[in-house]
């Protein structure tokens, strides 16, 4: 039923993936079973350990979406400083790009 997808240079069969994932999950479950099962919920034993500091309130722990790839955006600042102003939001610029595209493709098709 689940056959091979031939791509001309190799093949991909989802059955292989399912077999690997089942084996992996089995090993994970076996390791999980060897854990400690006697602990008291709600006391000191289940709180996160932050080197003895207090746990901050919930709203401050969560990293917000806008800050997440700060390193990536800062490293490519030269590229982003040119790219983001191009998406200006002015409709006339959108149509100017349309016209530039027509002329460039026309020149390429005629010349080459």
């Amino acid at each position: 039923m689940i056959g091979d997808l031939l791509t001309g240079y190799g093949f991909w069969n989802p059955l292989v993936w399912i077999a690997v994932m089942v084996t992996g999950l089995l090993i994970a479950w076996l390791i999980w079973r060897c854990g400690e099962s006697d602990y008291d919920k709600g006391t000191e034993q289940t709180k996160p350990y932050l080197s003895g500091n207090d746990e901050p309130e919930k709203g401050a722990v969560h990293i917000r979406g806008g800050n997440m790839y700060w390193g990536f955006t800062h490293a490519l600042k030269g590229y982003y400083d040119k790219l983001i102003p191009l998406h200006s939001g002015v409709v006339n610029d959108y149509l100017a790009w349309f016209l530039i595209g027509v002329i460039v493709i026309f020149v390429v098709v005629i010349m080459v």
């Binding site: 983001i84 998406h87 200006s88 939001g89 002015v90 409709v91 006339n92 149509l95 100017a96 016209l99």
Partner: protein, 115 residues
């Protein structure tokens, strides 16, 4: 040369319409430019069907051996006029809503959706 005059008019109209769309920042003027572009394409379509000394394409009581202008392009133009009416109406309604909510119809100022 006289026969090419409508095509030159089409080219001029398309040029003026594109210049209006690209350079004018007032939204109402841009909608006018789009209506002009549509009129130019309609003129182009009707001109394509013209035959020299042709009569209207009606078979009843047609004189013998007369050329007729092509009727298909006239149907295309009528359809395009109707589409143009609907498009212009919708665009003007959207411009009115933007004017009511933003207070301006300047393309440089209605840029809340950017980057």
């Amino acid at each position: 040369m006289i026969a090419n005059l409508p095509f030159i008019a089409v080219a001029l109209l398309i040029g003026i319409a594109l210049a209006t769309i690209l350079l004018k920042k007032n939204m109402i003027k841009m909608v006018m430019g789009l209506a002009m572009l549509e009129g130019a394409v309609n003129l182009f379509l009707v001109t394509l069907g013209y035959r020299e000394n042709g009569i209207a394409p009606i078979f009843t009581n047609a004189p013998e051996g007369a050329d007729m202008v092509l009727p298909t392009v006239q149907a295309l133009t009528l359809t395009n006029i109707v589409i143009g009416v609907a498009t212009t109406a919708l665009m003007l309604v959207l411009v009115m809503v933007i004017y009511k909510k933003y207070g301006t119809v300047d393309a440089d100022k209605m840029r809340r959706l950017k980057e």
